[in-house]
């Protein structure tokens, strides 16, 4: 009965992972995420799904926004592909695209690591920022890149996100951040920690202006990002089964000297614990975001 209710078309159908399905997903074991699904796909025409273990065609996976066509398993998606799938065609205007990391602490080996990350990801840094439209509704968008040093937050990531938020305040636009991060960028030391304060303070101003902020938590969202902008949304969405936590599971296991319960720190767990508003399948993301943007387009006034 309740499920029927939510299957009605006029509702945002973001309830896919309710009830029985949720329980099934929560009880799934923690698995190693596919580090980079695109690379694997270059080898042959099929891969084995990490969710259902079925053989699936790479073409199908790609056509399904890098999710399994059989079980809905979400693989990591390149930020450019995500932006393309989400925004209206040709609506994206990128901000600060030339900004690149310096080496503030002269940290041994850091320059080399950044160089290799640039080559591997074909990006200059771990986040892409800009503005665009979803079905005609404008917004500021930041997409983190887990391919760039695990999406770690250094000064450039913090600065780009802060500038994007400030731009949104200036233009009175909502902000959407796709989070994907292993945490702070250690090679930038205390400066990287301070990006948590910088970005959060900017979000504080955004909120005071009555503007909407939606983080979407994708696999993995951990560390300093979880302890700052990932958890500060008016509405917090997550992709299915994403790892989301402050401390990483390995660190916790080392601390408590026991293995973690199944499903711990996954999206479904966080929703149950009250920290995620809804889990949204990647293919529904555009529709759900549009619906939210529409409701927030007008504040307390008729939308006519």
């Amino acid at each position: 009965m309740l499920q029927d209710l939510f299957r009605k078309k006029k509702y945002a159908t973001v309830h896919l992972y309710e009830n029985k399905e949720t329980k099934k997903m929560i009880s799934m074991p923690i698995k190693k995420p596919v580090e980079n699904i695109q690379e694997e796909l270059e080898d042959e025409a099929f891969i084995k799904c990490t969710g259902c273990l079925e053989k699936i065609s790479k073409e199908d996976v790609k056509n399904n926004l890098y999710t399994c066509p059989i079980c809905g398993e979400h693989f990591r998606i390149n930020p450019r592909d995500r932006i393309k799938a989400l925004l209206d065609e040709n609506s994206f205007i990128e901000y600060d695209k030339d900004m690149t990391s310096f080496d503030p602490l002269k940290f041994e080996g850091y320059e080399k690591k950044v160089k290799s990350a640039k080559e591997k990801s074909n990006e200059l840094e771990g986040v892409i920022t800009g503005e665009g439209k979803i079905n005609g509704l404008p917004l500021v968008l930041c997409v983190m890149n887990s391919n760039f040093m695990m999406g770690s937050m250094g000064c450039v990531v913090g600065e780009k996100i802060t500038r994007a938020i400030e731009k949104a305040i200036e233009k009175r636009l909502p902000v959407l951040i796709f989070c994907a991060s292993g945490g702070a960028r250690m090679q930038e030391g205390i400066l990287s920690l301070m990006q948590m304060a910088k970005t959060s303070a900017a979000l504080g101003r955004l909120g005071e202006e009555g503007l909407l902020y939606i983080p979407v938590l994708t696999d993995p969202t951990t560390g300093g990002v979880t302890a700052s902008f990932a958890m500060l949304g008016d509405i917090i969405l997550a992709e299915p089964k994403a790892l989301i936590g402050f401390a990483g599971p390995r660190v916790i296991e080392q601390t408590i000297r026991q293995t973690l319960p199944e499903g711990f720190q996954r999206s479904e767990f966080l929703k149950e614990k009250g920290f995620v508003d809804e889990i949204v399948h990647r293919k529904d993301m555009k529709r759900v975001l549009h619906e939210i943007l529409l409701i927030h387009k007008v504040g307390g006034e008729r939308d006519e």
Binding site: D234, I235, K271, K273, G274, F275, E278, G299
Partner: protein, 315 residues
């Protein structure tokens, strides 16, 4: 629980008899239309007699019927789009209270309500609409969100009461209810509260401080359950019916006491007989009232809300 109430039995029996006669008439090709018309008129009269003079205890029974439409049923009827939001950002997502954002007649609103189940399984999952502190805290989070985005708030009240248990006490049931009551008196956005079923004590009031408070015709709202009162007064919870008669817990009683502003009509027999009808009535009420409330200055709105509760019980 049985979904046919005792006092409805004669009506149902008469309805069945009419159907029998009609069948008999058709099968045997005997004209009984006169007799059937007489019975049908009698049925209409019986229904009117039974339902328009319901005793408080009968209304208690209707308000608690498992068939009675719930918060989600009405949300479906009154919104053109709705998205449920989850969690208190502190401890848990309590499914005894649901909330989310949607559109009513092109007005963006936040809707929050107690959610009972439709069957035993769902009732266990939703704890029979009896919230823990995290339920009230989720409600508060969503109400503050509504205030931020200048959305009016609609609350749908339907709970036997806040849950009584060790964990609820440990996590501050009293604090959670108290904080909601206080904050609702301060929220700078219109609030309309509608009792759709059971308005059980503090657990109801935690969603019940608004600019307008109204009740469905067969809903109840009270400081304690009839069973609770009778067990305190006479050490016998089976005297609940007697207690209900004393308590002034029906919509009409509360209107007379000036605790509520309006009674929303239900079809004869109760809201479950025609959810569409009641949904329409609720929607019309909300839209009408919001049209007025949304025009008010925040200061005027909050002063009126304060005065509304300020005068209750002040002779």
């Amino acid at each position: 629980m049985n979904s046919i109430l005792d006092f409805e039995k004669p009506i149902l029996e008469l309805e069945a008899k009419i159907v029998d006669l009609e069948n008999f008439s058709k099968e045997n090709e005997i004209n009984l239309s006169n007799e059937i018309d007489i019975l049908k008129n009698k049925l209409i009269q019986m229904k009117k007699d039974a339902y328009s003079n319901l005793k408080p205890w009968q209304r208690v029974k209707i308000a608690r019927m498992p068939k009675r439409p719930t918060t989600l049923d009405y949300i479906q009827k009154i919104t053109s789009s709705f998205m449920e939001l989850h969690g208190d950002r502190l401890y848990k997502d309590d499914s005894a209270i649901i909330g989310g954002i949607g559109m009513i007649d092109h007005i963006p609103v936040t809707i929050i309500g107690h959610q009972k189940g439709k069957d035993t399984n769902e009732n266990i999952q939703r704890n029979f609409g009896m919230a823990h502190p995290e339920g009230y805290r989720k409600a508060l989070r969503l109400m503050k969100q509504a205030e931020k985005f200048k959305r009016p708030i609609i609350t749908l009240i339907d709970t036997p009461g806040a849950y009584c248990g060790i964990e609820a006490e440990e996590r501050g049931q009293g604090e959670a209810i108290a904080t909601n009551i206080l904050k609702m008196s301060q929220l700078k956005t219109p609030i309309i509260c509608i009792v759709i079923g059971e308005g059980g004590s503090g657990g109801a009031l935690a969603l019940g401080v608004g600019d307008r408070v109204c009740m469905l015709e067969n809903s109840i709202y009270s400081v304690i359950s009839p069973e609770g009162l009778s067990s305190i007064l006479w050490k016998d919870s089976s005297l609940a019916q007697k207690a209900a008669d004393m308590m002034k817990l029906t919509a009409k009683d509360l209107l007379d006491l000036k605790v509520i502003d309006h009674v929303i009509e239900e079809p004869l027999g109760g809201a479950h007989k025609d959810v569409e009808f009641v949904g329409k009535k609720i929607k019309d009420y909300i839209v009408d009232e919001l049209n007025g409330l949304m025009k008010l200055d925040h200061e005027v709105l909050l002063n009126q809300r304060y005065d509304k509760f300020r005068k209750i019980g002040n002779e």
